[in-house]
């Protein structure tokens, strides 16, 4: 027996034939429409949904009758568009009806009203978020602008610097290129599109044909380059033109392109300066162009940080005819679009091997390209990554803190939630409301934080090292503000999830049960777990902060090998065009030294080709023939040393310790080229002492060691650089010297007199880099100082947040267990014991947090190892201090609320209970 199931229409009448097909289609339409109706807000759906479905049903039935399935499909299609448009449109118009529920605008309005009714909660939450997200925004801005943002050149990813790798013959991976290297690269083709050869030089700038008051000479750094530099960078002058391809080499009109800053500062933005002449070291250059303000090209260097310049001139030599053995230029290479870094490296390597064979007898001197951004930020990258990690950690602590506060708030409202649930309130509405509240707080906090960070970044830029790459671009802009606000919203959503979950679970029955026993319940457990997480995160941040601060205090105490106090330093460029030959220069130096020493308060004057912490150096190989320390190994016996050319009085003025022998005397010893070496060099070749009197081969000359001095650091405050060799400037004359004046008055007060003295000797002399030596040392310490300031601020912030959490838990616990405590007291327990009981809870949480934090501390130590100086990443003293400090703060945070049990009057409490 079989029953055939007949289709029925909605009134139960059996259908058959075409009518049955039509009904099936209409039912399908109904289902689609009911689905689409979900696009409308719930209340609208309740009021009008059924009617809309009916109307569409009529429409669909008509459509099927008129044109069958194709016409019906058209109706469905238009129904989708209709529902999307009107459904979302209806949701977006909260003002139409006050009675609306399930409406986004309405939800937001309610949330705002709820937040305004709890101003203390709202304000404290927003304040915490503002500070936390503000700190995050500052760190994010720095990391984004310095490490990530592209450089303002055309296709910056195709730009490379090329260096000579000498590592097969000496310890130098980033040597400058010879002019012939650049010509070979530029003509090699393949992925290499074009190459510029750039060197940097200091010139004294003066204006021709202007009143003497405007003509005061000034030393400026400039780039001497091939004419193709602006084409390679993709930069066009703002005024005038850039170099023509033929404007290079000897025997032509010298031309100069001014940087925007120089044009503004020195020429007051005068547009008619283009076409006029300026004097550079007394030679007339025609100004052909001015660069736009955003062009701040940096030449990367083999040693030390990238360098900027204020103007551009072209080479006066033909690069192809320069000495292949000399290294004078940085090579800036533009690759063909789409060439991979590997292809560029291979092409450069091939040219390098050809040049090595042709010019260096295949000694293995190689050429290698480096990418611009990684190279630019190589020095600051480790410190910035540590900051970024600390910022992320702080945001995490903040999220946990926010979740805790929201949870407390949710628990205060659990009666409301439970009653709403019991009355059949829409559960998703409760979740939505809680999440919306948290998200709204996050957004407001993010916006305030971004605003705060506008000032924060300014303060940070003031603190940041002068040579921090792209320092001038660090600021909060709209995209960054948007990211911060987004982070705030995300933070709110994350933090709101726990309390939202709590809200949906609130049951009247649980509430009643909890009211009866006054126990903790799930919410208390969650809060305690969050305190543990906060303590763990804080101990990680604190230990990182502590280590960085320790490292910084170590840096402050290190002895750089000279005395930076009470010393003014400056550079006096001496134009070779007017002081031709060494004799004239030495006469000028004699006079300068004599008259500068006569300034009241000046106790001694010294000068050298470079001063300590110059972050620069001149290197050469030297040998000590017949010295006992020779080992027969060339690498050891002919070391690359930094050599400095000095005036008499240099060591005395700088406060460099003379360990043996004597410093240079006031006059030369006839027939003797004197040398002073540093302790390291003396120890290497004369391990038993007696270096005084030793002979040194320096190029083709033989020097005699007259003294041994301590190492005065040239590169970093905290570590020695290459071994050092000092020469007399009278023997090896540098025209331009760095001067140091030791005085018994504050160095800044000397400047006026120094300027007057130099002008009196020669009004055409410029003064450059006039600053106290202590400023140079400060500058060298800026980056570690910045890290120390930021990291300690972050870790203290995290500690305070954790303490707040702990306080809240213990206070809540005291309140909740008041009744229990009263019973205990009534049964004979003493207050001390009850206090211990309450404290015990807090102590357990702190201990658990500390234990959980240990692996984090270890990982953080590994991460910051690279930026630590003189401190081990697991420095026991720091770790003990951090744990001790955390324990102390935690103890206070527990004790203050726990003390309240002392105020429990058993009889009264029990009566109230």
């Amino acid at each position: 027996m079989s029953t055939r199931i007949m289709p029925h229409d909605m009134h139960g009448r059996p259908l058959d034939g075409p009518a049955a097909g039509e009904t099936r289609l209409v039912r399908a339409s109904d289902r689609l429409l009911r689905l689409l109706l979900r696009l409308y807000p719930e209340d609208f759906r309740q009021d009008m949904g059924e009617a809309i479905v009916e109307t569409y049903r009529d429409r669909c039935r008509d459509a099927v009758r008129r044109g069958g399935l194709p016409t019906l499909a058209g109706v469905w299609f238009s129904a989708v568009g209709d529902s999307v448009r009107n459904g979302l449109g209806e949701r977006a118009r909260p003002s139409i009806s006050w009675r609306r529920t399930g409406n986004w605008g309405r939800d937001a309005e309610r949330t705002i009203r709820r937040l305004v009714r709890a101003p203390l909660f709202t304000l404290s939450m927003i304040a915490t978020l503002t500070i936390g997200l503000g700190a995050f925004a500052v760190v994010f801005a720095v990391v984004q602008k310095v490490l990530l943002a592209p450089l303002p050149y055309e296709r910056p990813e195709d730009l490379y610097f090329v260096w000579r790798d000498y590592s097969t013959i000496m310890d130098l991976k980033r040597g400058s290129l010879a002019g012939t290297d650049v010509t070979a690269l530029a003509t090699s083709g393949g992925p290499i599109m074009d190459v510029a050869a750039i060197s940097r030089s200091q010139r004294t700038l003066a204006r021709a044909n202007v009143p003497p008051t405007d003509a005061a000479p000034e030393e400026i750094p400039l780039f001497v380059t091939t004419p193709n530099i602006f084409k390679i960078l993709g930069v066009r002058p703002m005024l005038g033109r850039s170099f023509a391809p033929a404007e290079v080499g000897p025997g032509r009109t010298p031309v100069v392109v001014l940087g925007h800053d120089l044009w503004q500062r020195r020429f007051a933005g005068d547009r008619t300066v283009v076409g006029t002449d300026v004097l550079l070291n007394d030679i007339a250059y025609k100004v052909i162009g001015v660069l736009p303000p955003d062009v701040r090209f940096l030449k990367h260097s083999g040693l030390g940080p990238p360098e900027s310049a204020e103007a551009y001139v072209t080479h006066t030599v033909d690069l192809a005819t320069t000495n292949p053995g000399a290294g004078s230029y940085a090579g800036l290479l533009r690759a063909r679009p789409g060439s991979s870094p590997q292809a560029v490296a291979a092409a450069v390597g091939t040219v390098g091997r050809r040049v090595d064979e042709r010019d260096h007898g295949s000694r293995g001197i190689a050429l290698h390209p480096v990418e611009l951004i990684p190279d630019l930020v190589a020095n600051v990258r480790p410190a910035l990554l540590v900051l970024a990690a600390a910022g992320a950690l702080l945001v995490l602590v903040l999220a946990v803190n926010m979740a805790t506060l929201l949870l407390v708030r949710a628990s205060e409202r659990d009666r409301e939630f439970a009653i709403s649930n019991a009355l059949g309130a829409n559960r998703s509405a409760l979740v939505r409301a809680t999440l919306l509240e948290a998200m709204l707080l996050g957004i407001v906090g993010g916006a305030c934080g971004a605003l705060l960070a506008v000032w924060g970044t300014r303060a940070l830029v003031a603190l940041a090292p002068e040579n921090l790459p792209r320092r001038e671009t660090i600021a909060i802009d709209w995209p960054i503000a948007l990211v911060v606000v987004g982070t705030g919203a995300l933070l709110g959503l994350l933090a709101g999830m726990l309390p939202a979950g709590w809200a949906t679970q609130a049951r009247l029955s649980t509430l009643l049960r909890n009211a009866a026993v006054r126990g903790g319940g799930g919410q208390g457990r969650m809060r305690r777990a969050m305190v543990v997480v906060q303590v763990a995160l804080s101990v990680v941040l604190l230990s990182a902060g502590g280590l960085v601060v320790r490292s910084f205090s170590h840096l402050l105490r290190v002895e750089p090998g000279f005395d930076a106090e009470n010393m003014l330093t400056m550079r006096v460029p001496v134009p070779t065009a007017r002081y031709t030959g060494d004799t004239l220069a030495n006469q000028l130096h004699d006079r300068l030294q004599r008259e500068l020493a006569a300034i009241p308060g000046v106790t001694s004057v010294g000068a050298a080709s470079l001063l300590p912490l110059a972050n620069d150096g001149n290197q050469t190989r030297v040998t000590f023939p017949g010295a006992p320390g020779n080992k027969g190994d060339e690498e050891h016996d002919a070391p690359l040393v930094d050599y400095l050319s000095t005036r008499p009085g240099y060591f005395e003025t700088l406060g460099i310790r003379v360990a043996a022998g004597r410093p240079f005397g006031p006059t030369r010893t006839p027939g003797l080229r004197e040398a002073v070496i540093d302790q390291a060099l003396a120890d290497q070749f004369y391990p038993g002492g007696n270096a005084v009197g030793a002979r040194i081969r320096f190029g083709d000359d033989t020097l005699t060691v007259v003294g041994v001095v301590g190492h005065a650091r040239m590169y970093d405050v905290h570590q020695d650089g290459r071994m050092q060799l000092y020469l007399r400037n009278e023997d090896y004359t540098y025209h331009t010297l760095q001067w140091a004046l030791r005085s018994d008055r504050p160095p800044a007060t000397l400047v006026q007199d120094v300027r007057a003295t130099v002008q009196r000797i020669d009004p055409g002399l410029a003064l450059a880099q006039v600053r106290p030596m202590s400023e140079v040392v400060d500058e060298a310490l800026r980056q570690p100082r910045l890290s120390a300031v930021l990291l300690s601020a972050f870790s203290i912030g995290a500690l305070l947040l954790a303490a707040m959490g702990l306080y809240g838990v213990v206070a809540g616990s005291v309140n909740r267990r008041r009744h229990e405590m009263a019973v205990r007291l009534a049964l004979g327990a003493d207050h001390r014991g009850v206090l211990r009981l309450m404290l015990g809870e807090g102590v357990r949480l702190v201990l658990l947090g500390l234990v959980i934090g240990v692996p984090g501390v270890w990982a953080a130590g590994r991460l910051i190892d690279g930026v630590l100086v003189g401190v081990s990443p697991l420095d026991p003293l720091t770790l003990v201090a951090v744990v001790g400090g955390l324990a102390l703060v935690a103890a206070v945070a527990c004790y203050v609320p726990a003390r309240r049990v002392g105020g429990i009057e058993p009889a009264q409490s029990l009566r109230e209970g």
Binding site: D9, M10, H11, Y40, F44, D47, M48, E50, A51, I52, E54, T55, Y56, R57, D58, R59, R61, S78, A79, G81, D82, S83, R85, N86, G87, G89, E90, I96, S97
Partner: protein
């Protein structure tokens, strides 16, 4: 919506096309949603309103007391299925009349300026 009842008639004007369509249909008698759309199609002036647009207008006009929902009842043309019907309120009628006068005045003005021939009406 007490406030809306005290709104002067002019404050409702001009009506949106969909609102005038609704009032025009309901002025002739009770209609369900599809009936209103069919009436608009029959007038043949512009594309009839989308269903969503129509119901948002119906809800708004209910709140403004221009129309009323009638008890759902069986509709003969829908195979006897039950349908939601709407009817016009006295306020709705006055508003519709005011809108019609406004349109007529516009039409006269259009004739006076030669945009519209007298035979068009």
């Amino acid at each position: 919506m007490g406030m809306d009842r005290e709104r002067p008639i002019e404050r409702f004007l001009p009506l949106r096309p969909v609102e005038f369509d609704v009032l025009l249909s309901l002025a002739a008698g009770e209609r369900h949603g599809y009936g209103i759309i069919q009436d608009a199609e029959a007038r043949g002036l512009a594309a009839p309103p989308d269903v969503g647009t129509l119901y948002r207008a119906l809800r708004r006009m209910q709140e403004q007391a221009l129309i009323d929902g009638a008890e759902p009842r069986e509709a003969p043309e829908a195979g006897g299925e039950r349908r939601h019907y709407y009817r016009i309120t006295p306020l709705g009628l006055r508003v519709a009349r005011a809108e019609a006068y406004r349109l007529a005045a516009l039409a006269r003005a259009a004739m006076a300026s030669g945009l519209l021939e007298a035979t068009a009406l």
